[in-house]
């Protein structure tokens, strides 16, 4: 007879002294872990609920401006520094860690229309309603010096926007035409126009640095190549585009913030259909900025809210609003991709977390592991109706909520009408136009 009994030595399973850690032997055999899926589901449900409980995105409000904030700019080298221009011509530089204004400049008479920093971070440019372009030093004046711009360029017409080249000492302004300037000269290197309308914004491509995009009030978006003296091509949409923003990771993708409450992500190579139509706002979209990862962007709207969209989703994943925030005019995603800043009509700049329920500060390794595990679980069970409902739930102000309902009814009615038209006409005579193609009027090369 050969016999062996299961006989464990307790010393192998119990800690020696109370100062030791407890011993936890593991066995990953699925038979010892029954109800794996239902338990994971419950964990995912709990994680989703906790995410909503901890969703407190609002961090700070920076007040000090005496008029609506019209434009924002990030410092390229310093995460804590932010520049803002107001409607009364005042430019303020803020320190985000202290949440304080560290410098105030009366830069222009009338609006500050645009502000941008030089790629090296030593100076910045502003354009205003007083037809001037001014270059300022980033550091304040020394003791006893006066606050003065480094250079001032007096133009003939009003400039409405400015953007700096990402690598060279060149910047572009827009107004009646798109002007490209050398920093050392007082005349533009070249001016480009296509049509005769005021251009509201111009943006350099951060990857293909010679490319520019601009949008004008005659409903078109025009693309330029700086190396040629003529524009490349343009796309005409249903309504006016307010701003565009290039994707910092994919050279040929840009997103346009449109007056028809939608955002359009275009591929520069095929402008006839947008890659994605992002709709959730209930009023004109005024500004858009990409996250440095290029996976998401944030949009500011006239409906007093900002929304975060993934680039491949047509619906927003997040909406931020407060009772006191009025029409949001400008928005920026910070370079560490953790925070969002928005400047609004009622003179405040607000700082938000990009991920509403994220815990700030240093995480211990166990916290990090738990966070990663919960994230994976949420991802795995995201399509289950109960979890989906909780994850999607957002409180909205009454005005936005009722407008969403109203617009849903309008959209349904339009669709029904179209369906009826197709049904009662000769088959094939009324084509079905997809949502993407509906909003593009023409592409001109």
């Amino acid at each position: 007879m050969k016999v062996k009994m299961l006989s464990r030595n307790p010393d192998n399973y119990v800690r020696e002294t109370k100062f030791d850690l407890q011993r936890v032997p593991r066995n990953y055999d699925p038979a010892l872990h029954p109800f794996e899926v239902p338990r994971e589901y419950v964990r995912a449900l709990n994680a989703t609920k906790l995410e909503r409980v901890f969703a407190k995105p609002f961090l700070a409000s920076l007040d000090g401006h005496r008029d609506g904030v019209n434009c924002l700019a990030k410092h390229p080298k310093n995460l804590a520094t932010v520049l803002s221009g107001a409607c009364d011509g005042e430019v303020r530089i803020w320190n985000l860690t202290q949440r304080k204004c560290i410098r105030t400049i009366q830069a222009h008479e009338g609006f500050v229309r645009g502000i941008c920093t030089r790629f090296c971070g030593t100076s910045f440019f502003t354009v205003g309603d007083d037809k001037t372009v001014k270059q300022w030093k980033m550091d304040g004046p020394g003791y006893g010096e006066e606050e003065e711009p480094l250079h001032t360029i007096l133009g003939k017409t009003v400039y409405t926007g400015i953007d700096h080249h990402w690598k060279e000492a060149v910047f572009a302004t827009c107004g009646q035409q798109v002007d490209i300037w050398d920093e050392q000269r007082t005349n533009p290197i070249c001016s480009m126009t296509w049509g005769f309308d005021s251009i509201s914004s111009v943006k350099f491509n951060p990857i293909e640095t010679f490319l520019l995009g601009s949008c004008a009030s005659d409903r078109n978006i025009v693309l330029y190549d700086m190396r040629q003296a003529t524009p490349l091509k343009k796309v005409i949409l249903d309504m006016r585009t307010n701003t565009i923003c290039w994707n910092p990771m994919e050279a040929f993708i840009f997103t346009a913030a449109n007056e028809d409450y939608n955002l359009y992500t275009f591929d520069m190579r095929a402008l006839d259909t947008p890659v994605m139509v992002h709709m959730d706002h209930v009023s004109a979209v005024l500004d858009v900025d990409y996250s440095p990862t290029g996976k998401e962007f944030v949009s500011a709207s006239f409906d007093k809210s900002i929304r975060i969209f993934p680039i491949d989703k047509s619906r927003s994943r997040e909406v931020y609003h407060t009772k006191r925030m009025q029409h949001v005019i400008c928005v920026k995603w910070t370079s560490d991709s953790k925070y969002i800043m928005c400047g609004s009509d009622e003179m405040n700049i607000r700082l938000w977390k990009a991920n509403a329920s994220e815990k700030l500060g240093v995480l211990t390794s166990r916290e990090k592991a738990a966070k990663d595990y919960n994230q994976k679980l949420k991802e795995k069970f995201q399509h289950h109706p109960h979890i989906k409902r909780i994850a999607r739930h957002r409180h909205l102000p009454k005005s936005i909520y009722s407008q969403i309902q109203e617009q849903r009814i309008m959209k349904e009615a339009r669709r029904r009408k179209e369906m009826n038209r197709i049904k009662h006409s000769k088959p094939g005579s009324v084509p079905v136009v997809s949502e993407k193609k509906k909003h593009v009027v023409a592409v001109v090369k």
Binding site: M1, K4, S7, Q22, V24, P30, H33, Y41
Partner: protein, 614 residues
């Protein structure tokens, strides 16, 4: 123990000094390895290749991963780069005799695989498909890793083997006790409790505690390993059944009238009057549900975490006194006097399934821990083992002289039956195989008729309650040797138990999720997907994902005549039509072949008895 010669010892000190001069300052623990590379190693000087040893190892694991699991795992594939060059040598000059990651047996990897690759999913978009592929690859990788971690398991299961020709069933407990070590021998004991008559017993989930209740009101709980008594009371009422709740601190006792809950001091915490005349108790640990079967024919689910009755189901089959739970999917099996076993979940008013098992009433039911086999015994003196994976067909049957009144499965699939005052144990081939009923593995005769049976979790022990008290039998190879410390730890401290309790309550599975397949929640919901698609087509009036009909492109130089356009169109249409026909033909042929394979007689000649073959 041999120690490696201290490097740098045989190097002349002058040289050493020179070298140290050249190098930047190092930590004292680094100094030991570095001079070996520089001075003492007979191999080539430390170049870049030498330092890349580890990444190369990593690369080879990558190759293994890509090639999926090797079909012949014991024969290791040696990547060619390992064989040839001297540069692959380690610092000491010796070659690694077992290069690359350790081989993993296929069966072990199979155990950890969760995704069923054979199942076809409906036609999905490219994005979803690629995501599925990524998930599958990840799953394979993790299952290989988990399989590799099996090497670290500390304990081996027990066994009992006879000399050639010797029948293990002839070996009596005294022999086993004599042969095994003292610690194991102490696990065999008898409690002589003749006064309060036949006992029911229950082990806690960790296998550390034992509770038993006598028919005449004697209830006790003890830490049976140290033999420390926790409480002992007499409830002055008949005790029908006894069960630990999620931890050893709570104890449910089915008394003559009502269900009572005691704590480990013997203090009565609750008397649940809504569960009356309860005959059997089952606790579902992950759902925190106490299932009670009563004389009145009701199956009642009590949520012990909030104290609410979740469901009270009328089985419509008279008195219920045969009950067991399926530990794999928390479905309750009830045995009835008409020979059927019905499967219940609290979410349904009707049974999930009814299985006709015996002619005459069912006396006992037991389900094994993997949820694949169910053993039943009936008044017809039959003992049957059923397959629970969809077919519900009996796998093996055996007629016992007296019939079994009590059945239980162990963690490793041993089946025990209590017949009068005899206990028989049958073993299968492996862990998940059904027990073979031909030859018993062990038998034991007790001092009174058996009234309750349970294998102790994580110990090779079988607890038997009978009219003469409690007997703890040694059954080598019954229990799972390696427990998981986070799931149920026999050696856990009080703090660990408290921590575990909070975690377990947080992930309490809702009662509505009990169904036959517990993995159904993670599968693609094909039915509602198709339904939604149908609704979308109805709403839109067209199928947005339908393939557009072929439209020939206009061609230059007068070749775009109407006739040629129609011709080209016709050509494509014909091609598609032929494809369709070919596919349907292939399908038909397959069906035909399957039918033929089914109807083919097993013998050379068709027999008259073939008509009874299912």
């Amino acid at each position: 123990m041999e120690t490696a010669p201290k490097p740098g010892r045989d190097v002349p000190p002058k040289k050493d000094k020179l070298q140290t001069k050249k190098k930047k300052p190092r930590r004292y623990w680094e100094e030991e390895t570095v001079p070996t590379a520089a001075g003492a190693s007979p191999g080539p000087p430390p170049n870049k290749k030498n330092r890349e040893l580890r990444p190369q190892g990593a690369k080879s694991t990558h190759i293994l991963k890509k090639s999926r699991i090797s079909k012949k795992p014991q024969v290791q594939k040696k990547p060619r780069e390992w064989k040839n060059s001297e540069s692959q040598r380690s610092l000491s000059g010796a070659q690694d005799p077992f290069p690359g990651p350790a081989p993993v047996p296929v069966e072990v990897v199979q155990k950890f695989c969760r995704i069923d690759k054979s199942r076809k999913l409906p036609q999905s978009k490219a994005k979803a498909r690629s995501r599925l592929e990524v998930a599958e690859a990840e799953e394979e990788e993790t299952s290989i890793k988990a399989a590799r971690s099996e090497l670290l398991l500390a304990e081996e299961p027990g066994f009992l083997e006879g000399e050639d020709g010797e029948d293990t069933a002839k070996i009596c407990q005294a022999d086993i006790v004599e042969a095994v070590d003292i610690a194991s021998a102490a696990k065999h004991f008898d409690l002589n409790l003749r006064q309060f008559g036949p006992y029911r017993l229950n082990y806690s989930r960790t296998g550390r505690h034992l509770a038993f209740g006598g028919r005449r009101g004697h209830v006790a709980a003890l830490d049976w390993v140290t033999k420390k008594l926790m409480c002992e009371i007499n409830v002055m009422e008949a005790v029908r059944d006894i069960r630990f709740l999620h931890s050893e601190a709570l104890l449910a006792v089915a008394q003559n009238r009502w269900l009572h809950i005691y704590d480990n001091q013997g203090i009565e915490l609750h008397c649940i009057r809504r569960c009356d005349r309860v005959t059997r108790l089952e606790f579902l640990p992950f759902h925190f549900l106490l299932a009670t079967a009563s004389e009145t024919g009701f199956l009642t689910y009590l949520d012990v975490s909030v104290g609410k009755i979740v469901a009270a189901l009328n089985a419509r089959a008279g008195r219920l006194d045969v009950m067991s739970q399926n530990p794999y999917n928390a479905v309750i099996h009830l045995g009835h006097s008409n020979g059927t076993v019905s499967l219940w979940s609290p979410a349904m008013k009707e049974p999930l399934a009814k299985i006709l098992c015996h002619r005459g009433g069912v006396r006992a039911v037991a389900v094994d821990s993997t949820g694949t086999h169910m053993a039943t015994s009936g008044l017809d003196h039959q003992l049957k083992v059923f397959d629970l994976r969809g077919t519900f067909q009996p796998l093996s049957t055996r007629t016992l002289p007296h019939g079994a009144g009590h059945l239980a499965f162990s963690q490793r699939g041993l089946l025990v039956a209590g017949m009068g005052d005899v206990v028989n144990i049958w073993a299968g081939q492996g862990k998940a195989s059904p027990p073979s009923l031909e030859q018993p593995y062990l038998t034991h005769r007790l001092s009174g008729p058996v009234h309750g049976l349970q294998f102790c979790p994580f110990e090779d022990v079988l607890g038997v309650g009978h009219s003469g008290g409690i007997t703890s039998m040694l059954v080598p190879g019954a229990a799972e040797p390696n427990f998981d410390g986070l799931e149920s730890n026999p050696y856990r401290s009080r703090k660990q138990r408290q921590e575990w309790e909070v975690k377990a309550l947080l992930e309490k599975v809702p009662a509505e999720l009990i169904c036959l397949d517990p993995r159904a929640l993670a599968e693609v919901d094909v039915i509602s997907l198709e339904q939604r698609k149908k609704e979308q087509i109805e709403r839109l009036g067209y199928d947005p994902e339908a393939k557009a009909p072929f439209q020939p492109k206009p061609k230059q130089k007068g070749r775009s005549s109407t006739a040629s356009l129609v011709k080209r169109k016709r050509k494509v249409m014909d091609e598609e039509h032929r494809d369709k026909v070919r596919q349907s033909l292939e399908q038909q042929q397959e069906l035909q072949q399957q039918k033929e394979a089914k109807t083919k007689p097993t013998g050379a000649w068709p027999s008259a008895l073939d008509r009874f073959v299912r």
